[in-house]
């Protein structure tokens, strides 16, 4: 070996084991860790692209910032920490072991005299006698003592708290152990395979069975952490590992079947427990065991731990009634669907794809209302920590779907199955939004006396029907005018303006009416005219309802306030249809719920190493911080005693203890 490489090795050793380097590493690691908490990790790459723009997206990707804690540079820092700690231990080990054992018997009187903590006393006692009593005293104080005869007297060498050094070994080897355990559970093996080209991440959205072998991991894979969704009545024998912008398929050593998934709720509606009844089968299809897992209660089988991680809809079957919103008739058609499925929809407005995305059996909504707990000082002082949950209601099931047009644009809908009450009247609600970060806007469809939306739909159909318009207008005009005005010009005028109003409304609701007024009516009169038009529209709509009922062979609507509201709400709701964004409304009639459980499956061989390391770390930290290492020497010569004391850490406790021993010496020498 040549001298320069030797000195390089030596200085590397020096650097790695230096305290300054250790402190720098701890600080760098802390700062590096912050990055991953600020930038959300392991999101879909597309959302990073939107957040950062194409340039920074690439820069961040190169730096591995989407998965900082598995990035090569982060692992490098960790490796340095492990190296530094290991070197530090090896460097200190021999010294520390020697020190733990040694009583430092060879200390010279001269150096004892140079101690900062020393105390001298004159004595009349024989050195041996004083040494004996001092030894008893020190042992009583918890010291281990060596009595060393010297030619002119005795040297007592004592030590206590050697475990402090042991603590150093425990804690620092624990750090190494924990890091190694963590690495065992990390994805190093896969990374290596990826670099060698043996394995590849799958980024396509294809059925699991079609994922090629290069993206599949064998059941023998020693460490993984994946997840899988299983609908009730189905099973899975793989889990999915999310890696970067894709995934891998992990084959499991068994098959997990879900019998039932249960959610229990508190009376306030918050979820109380999530439980899955699962069964495990071996590869041959033989049942191995059945178990119920819940949050905080995983099942461990064959080294694979199975956790309750999430839940979802598992393909609830929906029975629907579709309403053509712009058909000039009250027509509906039956439809079927299943969550996660899709269907084609052809309508006059074009071709659409329906994608059923979710079903929720409950919806706990804050229905507003007055909070009964006023929050003034007195009520808090004597007040109640009991929450006021009276305004929380379960408003029943809802289902969600997307309607995608031929260009791929989609709106999302959320339809409730049961009606909701507002201002004493009942409505069926359908929410719509253009993107997931918007709130839903709701279409409210009024219910009739029978509690159905059929009257609303019938009236809507009649109002959209251009053929009925003359008759509606005629009936309206006749009803609106007194006996003697019938057949006059006024009636004709009223008829034609009613026809016009109805036509305008059928084209675009109140908006087209408003536009018409803005164009034709001088500003000063607009409000008055609008009032008159609305009145005409309402009365005409009532006639339309009568007509529609008669045509459907139904009894005439009652002329009461309820019908009045029904008509008014229908007009409002119809007007909203023009911005609803879909040509159909899907009414949920029945459902057959299928839930799915989200399981997480992990195998982590490093776990026990990490736990053992943690135990050592705890012990080590306590020993280091709470066992104080101290040494005492008592050099006794005829007529003179010298007490010296030292410790690696000079704390106030140490000063106090020294003072106590000095005082004790003064007593002993007498």
């Amino acid at each position: 070996m040549n001298p320069s490489s030797q000195s390089f090795g030596k200085s590397l050793f020096e650097l790695l084991s230096s305290m300054r380097f250790a402190i720098s590493l701890l600080s760098i690691l802390a700062i590096a860790s912050i990055i991953g908490t600020v930038l959300k990790q392991s999101e879909p790459y597309s959302s990073y692209l939107i957040q950062l723009g194409p340039f920074w997206f690439q820069v961040f990707e190169k730096l591995g910032l989407y998965d900082v804690y598995h990035a090569a540079w982060f692992l490098l820092i960790l490796t340095f920490l492990v190296a530094s700690t290991s070197v530090c231990i090896t460097r200190n080990a021999p010294n520390f072991v020697r020190e733990m054992r040694s009583f430092r018997e060879h200390v010279s009187e001269q150096s004892l005299n140079a101690f900062r903590h020393k105390h001298e006393a004159a004595t009349t006692q024989q050195p041996e006698a004083l040494a004996a009593s001092a030894q008893r005293y020190l042992e009583g104080q918890g010291y281990k003592v060596r009595n060393l005869p010297r030619e002119d007297g005795v040297l007592l060498a004592a030590k206590a708290g050697s475990w402090n050094r042991l603590g150093y070994f425990l804690a620092h080897s624990a750090i190494v152990m924990i890091c190694i355990g963590g690495l065992l559970d990390g994805n190093l093996i896969f990374k290596a395979q990826q670099v060698l080209g043996v394995k590849k991440i799958e980024t396509r959205d294809i059925p699991q069975s079609q994922v090629p072998a290069i993206s599949r991991l064998s059941p023998a894979n020693p460490s993984f952490r994946g997840s899988v969704q299983i609908p009730e009545g189905s099973s899975a024998s793989v889990a999915f590992l999310n890696v970067a912008d894709g995934y891998l398929v992990q084959e499991l050593p068994f098959t997990v079947a879900l019998k039932q998934f249960r959610i229990e709720h508190y009376t306030t509606g918050q979820p109380k427990s999530f439980e899955s009844d699962i069964e495990l089968f071996d590869r041959a299809g033989k049942k191995i065991r059945a178990a119920t897992i819940a949050v905080n209660h995983p099942l461990i089988h064959d080294g694979v731990a199975i956790y309750q991680a999430s839940f979802a809809d598992g393909g609830t079957r929906l029975t629907l009634r579709g309403w053509n919103l712009f058909a000039p008739a009250a027509s509906s058609f039956p439809a079927e669907g299943a969550v996660h499925g899709s269907a084609a929809l052809t309508s006059a407005a074009g071709d659409f794809t329906l994608e059923f995305i979710d079903f929720r059996p409950f919806n706990i909504e804050d229905m507003g209302g007055d909070t009964e707990t006023p929050r003034n000082t007195m009520s808090v002082l004597g007040g109640s920590p009991v929450g006021d949950n009276r305004h929380l209601r379960n408003v029943g099931p809802s289902f969600q779907y997307k309607l995608r047009d031929a260009r791929g644009q989609a709106s999302e809908f959320s339809n409730y199955m049961l009606p909701l009450q507002f201002d004493g009247r009942w409505y069926l609600m359908s929410g719509v939004r253009e993107s997931p970060n918007e709130a839903f806007r709701y279409l409210r469809m009024p219910l009739d006396a029978a509690g159905e939306i059929d009257s609303f739909m019938r009236l809507r159909g009649a109002l959209l029907n251009a053929e009925l318009r003359p008759e509606i207008a005629a009936r309206f005009a006749r009803q609106a005018l007194p006996q003697d005005a019938r057949g006059t010009e006024i009636e004709d005028k009223l008829k034609s303006s009613a026809t016009q109003m109805l036509g305008l409304f059928a084209e675009g609701g109140f908006q087209s009416l408003g536009r018409f007024i803005e164009e034709k009516i001088p500003e000063a009169e607009r409000e008055k005219v609008m009032g008159a038009y609305l009145r005409i529209l309402e009365l005409a709509a009532f006639e339309a309802l009568q007509l529609a009922n008669r045509q459907a062979g139904l009894p005439a609507p009652r002329t009461d306030e309820a019908t009045g509201w029904l008509v008014r709400d229908t007009l409002n709701s119809m007007s909203d249809l023009f911005v609803y964004g879909a040509p159909v409304y899907l009414q949920l009639m029945q459902y057959d719920e299928v839930k799915a459980t989200g399981l997480q499956l992990t195998r982590s061989p490093g776990k026990n190493v990490v736990y053992f390391g943690s135990l050592l770390l705890t012990l080590g930290v306590f020993f280091m911080l709470y066992v104080r290492e101290r040494r005492i020497w008592l050099r006794i010569k005829p007529g003179h005693a010298l007490l010296a004391m030292s410790s690696a850490k000079h704390t106030i406790d140490f000063e106090k203890e020294f003072a106590r021993h000095a005082q004790a010496l003064d007593t002993l020498v007498k």
Binding site: Q141, D185, R225, Q270, F274, N296, Y307, S604
Partner: protein, 379 residues
């Protein structure tokens, strides 16, 4: 002169009859709770309760003032339970409950007493009045008693709301803030007695008052004092260990930071003649960080073990976890730098002060600004 030579007798031989009585009371209380409420506990919770008996007894033996505190809190809490007569509505009617010892009333008293204690400590510090300083201590003790009574009663109330709602009150930001104030105050009083210095109370009580301010804002503005049932992820016996251990850590770091402030002020001659010697402050600071670090280590390990059971992995680099690691690394670095040639002085004091900001971020900032698995206490 015999005194100086006295061997330190083993702990058991040093105990007085009161120590034994105290241990008996603790054991009786623990066993009573076990027999009465055992039905609600799983095996681990029973083990925790049983292990708590000797731990509390030994705490009382080693730190004598803990004994009367425990007995007073226990007795008043039992009295409060009896006042309820199993009916939650009694809290609005029964005099004692309404004005003194329903959970919310007791916690508000705690807040008030901490406020007064802060004033008393400052008056004592500025006026060099030993009497005022001692009053500060007494007020702090009363605040602690009220706070613990409040938590005990809150625990009981939660079961009155519903057997399935009941849980130990360390589950949301409001409850842990109360816990933080109590633990920090207790740790401070312990060191106050050990170091025989009363003046530092003025500084430590400031950080507790900040906690109290937060509790008040959180109560009045957000109604956070309402008892909510536990989300499934928190329904675990691990919570009983992980959360308190964490708060011993936070408490130690907070005390250290306030001592750091005192150190820096005294180092510049501000209040210097009223404060203890710099070495004493420095020593206390080291002790506070040492105990904080030790417990924070345990808390983080317990958290990892809990995570392994609840989320399927002992370490997920979730923001809260990561910030716990950052805090821990920060204080590990602090302890090392102090060891390098025994570095002391303003640099370490500054570091302890900055450390508090890191800790606060890990404690509240993460909940406010970052989202993750740990989103239980959102603001």
């Amino acid at each position: 002169m015999e005194l100086a030579l006295n061997q330190p007798a083993p702990l058991l031989k040093r105990l007085s009859w009161f120590d034994w009585l105290f241990a008996a009371i603790v054991a009786a209380g623990g066993l009573f709770a076990l027999s009465r409420f055992g039905g609600y506990m799983d095996i681990y919770e029973k083990a925790i309760l049983l292990a708590a008996i000797p731990s509390l007894a030994v705490s009382g033996w080693l730190w004598k003032p803990f004994r009367p505190l425990f007995i007073v809190v226990g007795a008043v809490s039992l009295f409060a339970f009896s006042q309820y007569q199993g009916n939650l509505a009694r809290m609005e009617e029964a005099f004692f409950l309404k004005y003194l010892i329903s959970s919310q009333a007791a916690i508000m008293w705690m807040c008030a007493l901490f406020g007064l204690a802060t004033l008393a400590y400052w008056a004592g510090l500025l006026a060099r009045s030993e009497f005022m300083l001692k009053s500060g201590g007494a007020l702090t003790w009363s605040a602690i008693a009220m706070g613990f009574i409040g938590l005990m009663v809150r625990w009981y109330e939660s079961y009155l709301i519903g057997a399935d709602v009941g849980h130990i009150p360390v589950s949301n930001l409001y409850e842990v803030f109360v816990l933080f104030c109590l633990i920090t105050a207790m740790m401070y009083l312990y060191y106050e007695a050990r170091y025989q210095t009363l003046q530092m109370g003025a500084f430590v009580l400031l950080v507790i008052s900040a906690g109290v301010g937060f509790i008040l804002w959180y109560t009045f503005d957000r109604g956070a004092h309402e008892i909510q049932p536990l989300v499934p992820a928190l329904k675990s016996w691990w919570m009983k260990l992980h959360v308190p251990a964490n708060f011993v850590g936070y408490g130690g770091f907070s005390i250290a930071a306030m001592l750091g402030v005192a150190y820096l002020l005294a180092g510049r001659g501000i209040l210097a003649s009223r404060l203890p010697r710099l070495e004493v402050i420095d020593d206390m600071m080291y002790k506070a960080i040492a105990i904080g670090f030790a417990f924070f280590t345990i808390a983080t390990i317990l958290g990892a073990m809990w995570a392994a059971e609840a989320w399927g992995g002992y370490w997920s680099w979730d923001p809260k976890e990561t910030w716990a690691l950052i805090v821990w690394l920060n204080y590990a670095a602090w302890l090392h730098i102090r060891l390098v040639k025994g570095l002391r002085g303003p640099m370490l004091a500054w570091w302890a002060v900055v450390g508090l900001f890191v800790t606060i971020f890990a404690f509240i900032g993460v909940n406010m600004f970052l989202s993750g698995l740990h989103s239980y206490g959102t603001l």
